[in-house]
Symmetry: C2
Subunit: 330 residues, 2 copies
C-alpha cells in the first residue's frame, strides 16, 4: 500500500511546489513600480544574478546592495531632515546657552532665519552640528533623536519624518533581501542619526549603516564606561567618501548601488566598475505634485553629472513621476 501511495504523494508534493512557484512568480514583488524600463531592469538583474545556471550568477555572500538615504529612501526637502533636527535641537537647547543669542550661526537660527544662519557655509554647519551632536554620550544622542522623531512633523505634510519614506524603495529593499541580498545604507548623513530609525523603518540593522561621523572617546563616568561624542570630524561619507566608507565598513564592492544625487556618483561608479553583472540606480526627482521636482540647480540633492553620464554608463535613471505608482509609504 505504501508503495502505491508514494508516487501519488510525490506528485501531490510536486504539484504543491509548482503551485508555490507559480504563485511566487506571479505575485508582483514591486507593486508600487509602474511597468517600465526601470522596473524591468531591476527584475532582470535580480533574476540573472540569483539563478544558479545563469552566467551572471552571484553567490549570496557577494550580493551586497548599498542605498543612499536622503532623497533615495526618504525625502530631503525643504532641508535635509537631520538639519531640521539640528535646528529644532538648537532651539530646545537655547535656554542652557544664553550666549547663543549673540553668536552666529545660533542667533539666526533662534531668530528663525535659517538662510542667514547657513550663509556662514561649512563653518556654520559644523558649529551647529557640533553643538547638537557632541559633548554627549552615544546613548544620550540616540535618545534625543528618538524623542525628536516621535514628536517632530514635516512642515509640508505634517507627517513624522520617518514616515516620509518611499514605498517603491521599501519594496526594492525587501525584494533584494528576499533574494538573499544584504542591504546597506551608505549615507552622507550622520551614521548615528540614521541608525536610530533604520532598523524599524527600512529593516536595516545598525551594523549595516555606513555614514558620516564625528570622533568618539571611551571614558569611565561615575564608574561606568561611556562613549562620548567629540566635537571633531571623523569621516565625511559623501562623493569619494562613499566608496571609501564602503571599503572601510563592508570590505567588498557592492553589486547594486542606488542613489539620487551627484554625491552618489562615485558609489555608483565604484559599484558598476566591478566585474560581472552590476546595477546602478539613480532616483530622479521629477514629481512636483506628489513630492518635489529638482535636479541640476537644486541646493539639496543636486543631480547633474549623474544625469549626463549615468545613461552612458548603463545606470538606470528612475523617473519618479512615471516609474512610481505611489511615492510615500502609507
Amino acid at each position: 500500500m505504501l508503495k502505491t501511495n508514494r508516487p501519488k504523494r510525490r506528485s501531490a508534493i510536486a504539484a504543491l511546489a509548482l503551485l508555490t512557484l507559480v504563485s511566487t512568480a506571479s505575485a508582483d514583488p514591486l507593486p508600487s513600480w509602474n511597468d517600465g524600463t526601470a522596473k524591468k531592469a531591476i527584475i532582470a538583474f535580480v533574476a540573472r544574478t540569483t539563478t544558479a545556471d545563469s552566467p551572471d550568477y552571484v553567490a549570496p555572500a557577494a550580493r551586497i546592495a548599498t542605498f543612499d538615504n536622503d532623497g533615495c529612501l526618504w525625502a530631503e526637502q525643504p532641508l535635509y531632515f537631520q538639519l531640521i533636527y539640528i535646528i529644532e535641537r538648537i532651539k530646545s537647547l537655547a535656554p542652557e546657552h544664553p550666549e547663543w543669542k549673540d553668536t552666529e550661526p545660533f542667533a539666526s537660527i533662534l531668530n528663525g532665519d535659517v538662510k542667514k544662519a547657513l550663509a556662514g557655509g561649512k563653518k556654520a554647519l559644523l558649529d551647529l552640528t557640533m553643538a547638537t551632536h557632541a559633548g554627549i554620550t552615544t546613548e544620550e544622542f540616540d535618545q534625543s533623536v528618538r524623542d525628536w522623531l516621535a514628536t517632530a512633523r514635516h512642515p509640508k505634510t505634517g507627517r513624522p519624518y520617518n514616515e516620509m519614506v518611499y514605498q517603491p524603495m521599501l519594496e526594492l529593499l525587501a525584494y533584494l533581501r528576499a533574494n538573499d541580498f544584504k542591504t546597506f545604507i551608505v549615507t552622507g548623513g550622520g551614521i548615528d542619526f540614521v541608525r536610530v530609525f533604520a532598523e524599524e523603518t527600512y529593516g536595516i540593522p545598525p551594523e549595516q549603516v555606513v555614514g558620516s561621523s564625528i570622533k568618539t572617546s571611551y571614558e569611565i563616568r561615575e564608574g561606568k564606561p561611556a562613549l562620548v561624542k567629540l566635537p571633531e570630524l571623523n569621516f565625511i561619507d559623501d562623493k569619494e567618501g562613499k566608496p571609501i566608507g564602503i571599503h572601510q565598513h563592508i570590505g567588498r564592492r557592492p553589486i547594486f548601488a542606488a542613489g539620487n544625487s551627484d554625491g552618489d556618483f562615485q558609489m555608483l561608479e565604484w559599484t558598476t566598475a566591478g566585474k560581472g553583472a552590476r546595477f546602478g540606480l539613480l532616483v530622479h526627482h521629477t514629481d512636483a505634485e506628489r513630492e518635489w521636482a529638482y535636479d541640476r540647480d537644486s541646493h539639496i540633492g543636486k543631480l547633474a553629472r549623474g544625469l549626463d553620464e549615468g545613461p552612458k554608463r548603463g545606470w538606470t535613471i528612475v523617473n519618479m513621476k512615471d516609474d512610481w505608482a505611489r511615492v510615500f509609504a502609507e
Copy 2:
C-alpha cells in the same frame, strides 16, 4: 484510506522530530572543550539568552558577539603573524628598494635582526607597516596577503598561518551562530589583512571584521576607479579603540566578547557593563606544551589587568591547558 494513513504518518513524523531534538540536545556543541566551569558558563549563557521564556532572553538581532583575533582565534607567537607578513614582504620587496640596505629599520630586517629593527619602537613599526601596506590598491594588498598565506609557514609548526587557529574557538563561533548570534572580529590587527582569510577560516564575512586601518583614497587610474592605501594612520583598534571601533562599525553594544590580552580589556568592560545578561571571556595562554604559556610579562599579548580584575567582574578566564581538550584545528 488517506484518512487512516494520516495519523500513522503524523506519528512517524513526530517520532522523527523527537529523535532529531534528542540527538541535537545530546550532541556536544563544544567537543574540544573539557567539561569545566568555562564550558558550563558558556552553555548556560547561551541557554538563558536564547530561551524564549527566560528573564535574560535577548532578541536575535541584539545577539552580537565580538572576538579578538591574535591570541584569541589564532596564535600570536613568536610574533604577531601580520608582523611576520611585514618582515617577509620587506624581504621580497627589497630588490625594488636598494636604499633599504642603509636605512633602519629596513636594514636590520634584511640582516635578519628583527629585534634590532623593532628596537625603533612605534616609529619603526609604522615605517615597516607603511612600506608594505601603503601605495598599493586595496585589491593588490588583498592579493599579496592571499599569496603569502598560501605559501608562508609558521617557524615552529611548519603549518600555514591560517591553520594555526584554535579548534575550541571555531566551535564556539559555530555554536553562537547556530544560536542566532552574529559573530564579529574586533582586532588590533589590520582590518584589510584579517578580512582576506576571515570568511574561509572563521566563517566571518568582511563586513563583520573591525580592525586597525590606514587611510584610503579614491582615484581614477587608467580610466578605472581604484582605492589606494595611503601611508597615514586612520584608526587603531586596540584598548579604548575597541569599544570605539565597535560603536563605529556595529552601532550596538555586544552581549558577548572574547579576548586574551589587556588590549581587550575595554572591549570586555564595555560589553559586560551593559544591561541584562553579558559574557566576557579571556583566553589565558597556559599551555607551553601544546601552544605557548605567557601572560603578565609577555611582549606580545600581555595579560595582567584582565587576570587581576576579570574574575571580580564576572569574566570567564579560560585556562587553555585545562579547559581545552584540543588546541589547534586539524
